[in-house]
Point group: C2
Chain length 90, copies 2
């Protein structure tokens, strides 16, 4: 089973009040030197079967239509490599 | 300015109703073959100055005390390389 990660973030030109709230709280909490914070969503999808080009295209469509609001959000789709990779003999 | 990404996900043993809601909706929407979905948070921090071991230790502390609830959530901290773009701009 492969894991595909979809990251959904507000577009840079869209105000991010959650991120701003975090960023403004940091100096009060003793953390200096963080110029900006943006907060978004991370989806981990466990995919049955091979994650080939067709599967990734399907997940891209899923993210575009369902996980992200593409009017205000950008998203990225990537396969997360397992910590231990096994290679089948040819 | 370097970007550090903090991913916060519910621990595997904690029920994730948001992820479950997404996963259950997928077949209705025509997406089969997704065995599980977990939904978490992604924070992008723009860090002033060099991201050295001390800065990363500080951000780790920040994530642990402020961004994640470590009773129910796990988090990872990583530096995002600026040169690598996952999605080509249109």
């Amino acid at each position: 089973m492969a894991r595909v990660v979809v990251d959904v973030m507000l577009k840079p030109e869209i105000l991010d009040p959650q991120g701003q709230a975090v960023q403004r709280a940091l100096p009060r909490l003793g953390f200096e030197g963080i110029a900006d914070v943006r907060q978004g969503k991370r989806f981990e999808l466990e995919v049955e079967g091979p994650v080939d080009a067709a599967a990734l295209r399907r997940i891209h469509e899923l993210a575009e239509t369902f996980l992200a609001n593409t009017v205000i959000e950008d998203f990225t789709v990537r396969v997360e490599e397992p910590a231990v990779s096994e290679e089948a003999p040819a």
